[in-house]
């Protein structure tokens, strides 16, 4: 089957600045992918191009095998929910009614139950909603649309932690019942990590890492303790970061740990702490532009896969 999304060499420039620089990746159908990266990394531009709301300067974009630009056949199969979605002067229930006409897979039952979950009053004018409530309305729309391709661009401005957890739980529950392709742009990586099957990490307009999320967990470890022991333990491993104060050192070492490593660390009086997905992403995005070590991430993930 053709991938849900396929982009190759995608480039978008604005007056001498490259928002997207030769971006290439595929997203298979039936997965939840996290689009991660710092503000200004190019995530929003990418999503807008996928949704046909903006045009590439160069390169190819395919959604369900066709170009999304001004292509109604493709656009009606997807929904894009943005951070600060703008609505006409509507009541909440009018906004949802309008959405129900746009999306062939729309579920009114899901929309009503989500309204209740988020405590959204159907008769309140959208203009009178708080920022968090407006975000919730976007989330209700994005989920109830049950579009084959669902794009969420940081959809939770102003939402508190409890409401965000509701979003994750309802997303997961509905996805389990109605599998589809979801691309979620977020910088709250720790919160969303468990939901993501794959991650695409962008930095300064480029993809610096694209991998299965679970392949990244545990591929690097922070080793801390007496400097001689740390150097002994990490010898022969690639090192991403090394910090030292007096006789203590802390080193980020690449490579999965085995059972024997934990015992050895204990006997050397070392602390081992595997990097979380969030820390790995921060690390991937922190590399200088020309020496991104997507290569070494990929190699480390491969090592894990074949182990």
């Amino acid at each position: 089957m053709t991938p849900a999304i396929s982009v190759a060499g995608l480039t978008r420039g604005y007056r001498g600045h490259l928002a997207l620089d030769r971006v290439t990746f595929d997203v298979e159908r039936g997965s939840i992918t996290g689009l991660l990266g710092r503000n200004g990394a190019g995530k929003t531009t990418l999503l807008r191009i996928l949704a046909g709301q903006e045009f590439p300067s160069a390169g190819q974009v395919r959604v369900f095998g066709a170009s999304p630009a001004e292509n109604d056949q493709v656009l009606r199969r997807m929904v894009l929910i943005r951070e600060d979605q703008v609505y006409p002067d509507f009541k909440v229930r009018h906004a949802l009614a309008a959405a129900s006409w746009c999306y062939p897979g729309w579920s009114s039952e899901l929309a009503s139950s989500l309204l209740a979950d988020f405590g959204l009053p159907p008769d309140r004018p959208v203009k009178k909603l708080s920022r968090g409530m407006r975000s919730a309305l976007g989330i209700v729309t994005g989920l109830a649309a049950r579009a084959e391709l669902t794009l969420f661009d940081e959809p939770y401005a102003g939402l508190d932690a409890v409401a965000r957890q509701t979003f994750y739980d309802r997303l997961l529950a509905d996805y389990a019942e109605h599998p589809r392709t979801i691309l979620l742009s977020t910088h709250l990586i720790d919160e969303a990590a468990g939901l993501l099957e794959r991650v695409i990490v962008m930095d300064r307009g480029r993809v610096v890492l694209a991998a299965a999320a679970d392949d990244l967990r545990g591929i690097a470890t922070t080793v801390s303790g007496p400097v001689l022991a740390v150097d002994d333990f990490t010898a022969g491993h690639e090192v991403w970061e090394r910090r030292q104060i007096a006789s203590q050192a802390s080193v980020v070492m690449v490579g999965p740990l085995g059972e024997g490593d934990w015992a050895r660390a204990r006997s050397l009086r070392l602390d081992l702490e595997p990097l979380t997905l969030q820390q790995l992403v921060v690390h991937a995005a922190a590399q200088p532009a020309e020496t991104t070590n997507a290569g070494s991430f990929a190699a480390a993930a491969m090592e894990r896969t074949s182990a």
Partner: protein, 135 residues
């Protein structure tokens, strides 16, 4: 902060999930012949991607600890508990005894003293367990 019901970010989630289920089988929480929660139930409980949950389940199916009954669900296979306990027993020396002996040597505790300490600890554990039962 993410809430993955005890799973953490330090190792692949599918492997942690498989390990959890294996523990439950070994401890008897999931008895042989019991139905194991479905992929979607596990995904909802642990708040993880259903594909990740499915991968964890598949590890146990491949190991023969779970068996799939078409259209009904996944069940704990016959002999699964015995096999898991056997594996744990084999790992016992490496996991517990060797580190214990090494640490004792570092502290200058000789073998006789170590044996005495183990006896005392095992005595305390036995009386604790008994109290637990009478409660």
């Amino acid at each position: 902060m993410r809430e993955m019901a005890g799973l953490d970010e330090g190792a692949p989630l599918f492997a942690q999930l498989a390990g959890r289920l294996a523990e439950e089988i070994a401890d008897g929480g999931l008895a042989e012949g019991d139905r194991v929660p479905s992929t979607n139930e596990l995904a909802a409980y642990y708040r993880i991607n259903p594909a990740t949950a499915a991968k964890g389940i598949n590890v146990l199916i491949d190991d023969g600890l779970l068996e799939k009954r078409r259209g009904i669900g996944m069940f704990v296979a016959a002999g699964a508990r015995r096999r898991l306990l056997e594996e744990r027993r084999q790992q016992f020396t490496e996991r517990y005894v060797e580190p214990l002996v090494a640490e004792a040597a570092r502290l200058g505790i000789d073998t006789d003293e170590l044996v005495g300490l183990i006896r005392a600890a095992s005595h305390a554990e036995a009386s604790y367990t008994q109290e637990g039962i009478t409660l």
